[in-house]
């Protein structure tokens, strides 16, 4: 059953890529290529930019996993344990970031807006980077993670946090190259990532807010 599921996933990705390419192609266009040389060049340039950004993501993911693999693993686990909560939190957080950015931008004439906007930007970028790496780990574990102890013992390459992150970057990067669907999938991954980063407080087991307790006599 699991083997069938593993076969099913790449087949689904391949089929989705083919269908998306056919849908995204201009009407009457040949499936083998776009209409003009200019279109082909623009598409190739876009692909080159995406591939270059994927290379940067790969390096960032490996570096972050080496620095704090335990935290990334914990966030990835949380994402798989309560995906809906992470997604809802991510949606609310992205909305909150946007609204807060507008409010801080509104405050720029009063001089307090600029540092606040800068701090919000740094926090949002860090949350996105950390969360996306956690999504890479979660996707890698779902696709290539060991299910049994025997399977884990047999493996020499596909085991460990680093391997899961690399597999996740490869899978999500391949999906990112699909026109139309790729950016949507990447956007969903970002929302999931931001949600899981905030839900786990960047992989640490600390509450965001202290609970109020009265002193007992």
């Amino acid at each position: 059953m699991r083997r069938m599921l593993r076969l099913f996933l790449p087949l689904t990705i391949a089929a989705a890529s083919l269908v998306t390419a056919m849908v995204a192609a201009p009407p009457g266009a040949n499936v083998r290529g776009p209409l003009t040389v200019g279109d082909a060049t623009a598409m190739l340039q876009k692909t080159a930019v995406i591939a270059a950004l994927l290379a940067v993501w790969m390096l960032a993911a490996v570096a972050l996993t080496l620095l704090s693999g335990r935290e990334i693993r914990y966030s990835s686990l949380e994402m798989r344990a309560s995906a809906l909560h992470c997604f809802a939190l991510g949606l609310v957080a992205v909305t909150s970031f946007a609204l807060t950015a507008i409010v801080f931008s509104y405050l720029i004439p009063y001089h307090v807006g600029v540092p606040l906007l800068f701090a919000l930007g740094v926090f949002a970028i860090l949350t996105k980077i950390y969360g996306t790496v956690a999504v890479f780990h979660a996707v890698g574990t779902l696709v290539a993670g060991s299910r049994t102890r025997e399977q884990l013992a047999r493996r020499h390459w596909l085991r460990g946090d680093l391997a899961m992150v690399v597999v996740g970057v490869a899978v999500l990067g391949a999906l990112r190259l699909i026109p139309i669907v790729g950016p949507i999938i990447w956007g969903f991954a970002s929302v999931f990532g931001i949600g899981t980063a905030l839900a786990t407080k960047f992989g640490r087991r600390e509450p965001w807010f202290l609970a109020w307790r009265t002193v007992e006599s």
Partner: protein, 147 residues
């Protein structure tokens, strides 16, 4: 159960071990004796337990990591070379998307300033509601098991 069954168990516990399943008194007595004697608990079959997330996680397959990184970087460089783009162009295009976000933010702020007082108050209420919802969601404890 019956006194005679208990007696038989007490006289010869090992052949009559099945008696413990039916007699709570003897079971409690046996547990107490085992505790006093410092007997080891029944061994746990570790292989029967599910795989923990941290098992094998510290393994670092450098071949896979370096190979994957080299392949992705090589594809990116080959595509950049084929299109005549330099890495500087890639950075510029990334900054251009940031510029788009900045201009969107500027336009949204200008619209808010130009809006009526009622709209500004409504925006403020929306801001408070969304952030209150964020705080409510952040208060939930994570569910993930020990990593």
């Amino acid at each position: 159960m019956t006194d005679s069954a208990c007696q038989r168990y007490l006289e010869d516990p090992e052949p009559n071990a099945a008696h413990l399943e039916t007699c709570a008194t003897c079971r409690a007595e046996a547990a107490g004796l085992a505790e006093k004697a410092g007997a080891e608990p029944a061994p746990i079959d570790l292989d029967a337990l599910p795989l923990a997330p941290w098992e094998g996680s510290s393994h670092r397959p450098w071949g896979l990591v370096l190979g994957g990184a080299v392949v992705v970087i090589a594809i990116a460089l080959a595509l950049c070379d084929a299109t005549g783009m330099s890495p500087l162009h890639v950075a510029e295009s990334s900054l251009a998307s940031m510029e788009g976000i900045r201009s969107l933010l500027t336009r949204a702020t200008a619209s808010l300033r130009a809006a009526s007082l009622g709209m500004q108050i409504a925006f403020g209420v929306l801001f408070l509601v969304v952030n209150a919802l964020l705080i409510v969601l952040l208060r939930r404890a994570p569910r993930g098991i020990d990593a």
